[in-house]
Amino acid sequence: MRIVVQDAPFDPGAELNGFTVSTQGTGAVVTFTGVVRDLATGDLDVMEIEHYPGMTESALNSIATEAQKRWSLVDVLVIHRYGRLRPGDQIMMVATASRHRKDAFEAAEFLMDYLKSRAPFWKKEITRDGSDWVASKEEDEAALNRW
């Protein structure tokens, strides 16, 4: 299990390959990569991500540990950035490795659902005209009910 919280960019392709090599012979590897989306108006300048140092790492650790309890996983990787990002930048990534694809898929979705609503990150969208904190979505909270 590897949990990374950093402001620096990361390389999803290199992470996928490194993860696959370290779990060699596992069978199934699923990744989710989150990328900064521009606004519908096309004028997003910066996406600023604030987090709660200390709690962030422990929350992500708890979520990943819970995933390993619920599914048969060979390994779990979670990377999440904070700081000032731009449209097209990678925000975060999760990767799961298992013998069978069902475990890897379900665990990756579980990680994403919990990470969205239970890890202490907050996004702010900054345009030339001002800034707005991104509101949480009811559907994200509701997504937790299926697990």
Partner: protein, 81 residues
């Protein structure tokens, strides 16, 4: 105890962290005490349904006791991922 604020709660209150000496028994008591102290707290805590609280870096609830707690954090619902 240390009290931390994040995102728009931090912006409304105007600081990320402060040390507060209080006899509040629960999180809700602390919220009332701070809200009574200054308008910026009252503004930040106006709608508790829009807020989350963590005690010693674990998500908790507003009726949780503060006995033994060293760090309280207030913030809006998370929007990571």
């Amino acid at each position: 105890m240390n009290v931390l604020y994040f995102a728009w709660v931090r912006e409304r209150i105007g600081l990320p962290k402060e040390r507060i000496d209080t006899d509040a028994e629960t999180v809700a008591d602390l919220v009332h005490e701070l809200s009574a102290r200054e308008e910026r707290y009252a503004a930040a805590f106006a709608d508790l349904t829009a807020l989350r609280v963590a005690l010693d870096q674990e998500l908790s609830s507003f009726d949780a006791p503060l006995a033994g707690v060293r760090e309280v954090a207030f913030f809006p619902p998370m929007t990571g991922g």
